[in-house]
């Protein structure tokens, strides 16, 4: 009986959502010139007129090269990064705060004294390959968050890759215990560094998280001003935070 009701409710909800789909443009048939995102793609939020721009009119002609040039509002080649860490950076600060809150919550709920064992010896292949792969995995994580403004990726995926390296250490060694003091202090200092970047922007540019560094050329490693620095702090913060979560999951209370 309960299953029948559940099927009916779920089917009703699915039907309702399918009806709502009629108000949306068809899949793949979106016209970007009607959307706010065209401003972000043009790298000029304040002055560009998107309708004229898309039609190839004077203001910023369409098909104009953006890669390899300078003089835009935001110079990161990856537009998603420029939205996440530049235009909507305050939102990202809130997101990092939510992640911090959940890591603190996990620490409060699960924190224990000693490390939980798996009760069996790790596989030989796992132990040996960890020694070979660990530096490569950490280097790959650092590569991802350093190149966040040029390639897909950024601070959050890079930090997650680093946390995966810590998880590999836990899996391959029964005695391994992460140094929680280091991870907590790295996490705290990186979180405050993000706020300090914001306050520096407030002092120099008059707006919180203002991009106060020189912008450089679109597509080069030293470009986009404050964006790579912020993504590095986010990467280290997320990496240490998720490593702390992995460590806390492996703890157990006495008795």
């Amino acid at each position: 009986m309960r299953r029948l009701y559940a099927i009916l409710v779920a089917a009703g909800l699915i039907y309702m959502l399918f009806v709502f789909l009629g108000t949306l443009p068809l899949y793949g048939k979106v016209d970007l010139s009607n959307r706010v995102s065209a401003h972000f793609l043009a790298k000029d939020v304040n002055s560009v007129d998107v309708k004229k721009w898309v039609e190839g009119d004077k203001q910023v002609p369409s098909r104009e090269k953006i890669y390899g040039r300078k003089g835009f509002e935001d110079e990161s080649a990856n537009v998603v990064t420029s939205i996440v860490v530049n235009y909507r950076s305050f939102d990202t600060l809130g997101e990092v705060t939510v992640l911090f809150a959940s890591a603190v919550g996990i620490g409060l709920v699960l924190g224990g004294m000693k490390r939980m064992g798996y009760g069996r010896k790790p596989n030989f292949i796992l132990r040996v390959s960890t020694g070979i792969l660990l530096p490569l995995i950490i280097m790959f994580g650092i590569y991802i968050f350093v190149h966040g403004h040029l390639t897909p990726g950024g601070g959050f995926p890079g930090g997650t890759v680093i946390a995966a390296a810590v998880l590999l250490l836990y899996l391959s060694n029964e005695e391994f215990v992460a140094n929680m003091k280091t991870s907590k202090s790295l996490e705290g200092s990186m979180g405050s560094l993000y706020v300090i970047f914001g306050l520096a922007g407030l002092a120099t540019g008059g707006a919180f998280l203002f991009n106060f560094l020189p912008n450089g050329v679109v597509g080069s490693l030293f470009s986009a001003g404050v964006v790579p620095l912020v993504y590095m702090t986010i990467g280290l913060k997320v990496g240490s935070e998720l490593s702390g979560v992995v460590a806390e999951i492996h703890e157990e209370r006495e008795g």
Partner: protein, 114 residues
């Protein structure tokens, strides 16, 4: 098409939330709904034959609708991270529930008032 997949996944998640008695399956259902909503938001920004919104040597400039919409992707990036946080917090709470009530099945919990 992709809209349909995400809506059906939302329906599956709601069904799981209403029928399952194991609390871990509730978390799995919530995670399915989370993923489905993320798929839906990303799909609203898709442009046919659009490329990833990154300026490279191969795609140096902007022409109308050559890139997909970057804004939904940025929003989903936020949503995924928060989804990870809530999932981990919920799973860790379940560990404590299992310790206190000896089960995570709603019907077999000990010490819970009817």
């Amino acid at each position: 098409m992709v809209y349909g997949i995400s809506i059906i996944l939302i329906g599956i998640g709601i069904y799981g939330l209403m029928t399952q008695k194991n609390l871990f399956k509730h978390i799995v259902s919530l995670s399915i709904i989370d993923t489905a909503v993320n798929i839906f938001i990303v799909a609203t920004g898709y442009v046919s034959n659009g490329k990833a919104p990154i300026y490279t040597r191969a795609l140096p400039g902007f022409s109308p609708n050559s890139f997909v919409d970057p804004l939904p992707q940025a929003l989903v990036l936020t949503a995924i991270v928060i989804g990870v946080g809530t999932l981990a917090l919920g799973a860790s709470l379940l560990v404590r529930v299992k310790e206190k009530h000896s089960s995570i099945n709603v019907e077999n919990m000990k010490g819970v008032g009817e």
